[in-house]
Symmetry: C2
DNA sequence: AGCCATGGGCAACCAAAGGTTGCGCAAAGC
DNA sequence: GCTTTGCGCAACCTTTGGTTGCCCATGGCT
């Protein structure tokens, strides 16, 4: 199931970082750290993780490193989220239908 | 955003456990551990986590503890997954539209 | 050119979380 | 009544998210 992608977006700080990058188009470790409750180093580590799984890409600009979201990879991650969600949703629906069917049957038994 | 729910389903082992519980209706720490690459104790810890956030409930049966998924809470979790996914999806779409608009504009500039 | 402010990488360290082994206990089964 | 067996608890290890401290390089200012 490619758990790397999941675990990458599993961390709340990293999710917020992706949000910030999407909102601003791009950002550096320092600029992101200003908007997050963690230090620049922590952000840098997260960026390294996101970079490793391809969710972000870095372009060096002078002494700065501008990170931006890789759209294709994020789309992949979103698809995985949707997939798991859909699977569970389907099962929940099936359970619900089953429960309703049983209830109807028990009512029918009482009536009969 | 209720990160507890997210972090609960963020772990791949716990996701698989939820899958197994949904598939089988219910299960014990021992029965789940048989189908997982981890020890019973690890499973028990995960069950404790899932129990704490309300994703599963335990019903003692003799010396066994049968766990089953709380449908309402799982539905909540699925909704959160969908929400984050939808948010990113929307942003990705907006970016794509913007990129296309810019491309059209540059072509128009060349033509004019 | 020279200096200092600033962005960033590296290393050491800490705490929490996922995982393991080992133990002990209580309920089921013979 | 004795043995299995399912669980819970405790100690320990490793990874990971986070911190502080230090140093290097680049860029702006004078």
């Amino acid at each position: 199931m490619n758990d790397d992608l999941w675990s990458a977006i599993g961390d709340p700080t990293r999710r917020t970082m992706i949000d910030l990058l999407l909102a601003g188009g791009s950002g550096t470790a320092t600029s992101l750290a200003e908007k997050l409750p963690v230090t620049r180093q922590a952000v840098a580590k997260h960026l390294a993780v996101l970079d490793r799984v391809g969710l972000v890409t870095a372009k060096p600009a002078g002494r700065e490193r501008h990170y931006q979201v890789d759209e294709a990879q994020l789309a992949k991650a979103v698809a995985q989220l949707a997939s798991v969600g859909a699977s569970w949703d389907a099962r929940l629906r099936r359970i619900k239908r089953l429960a309703e069917a049983i209830e109807r049957k028990s009512k029918g038994d009482q009536d009969g």
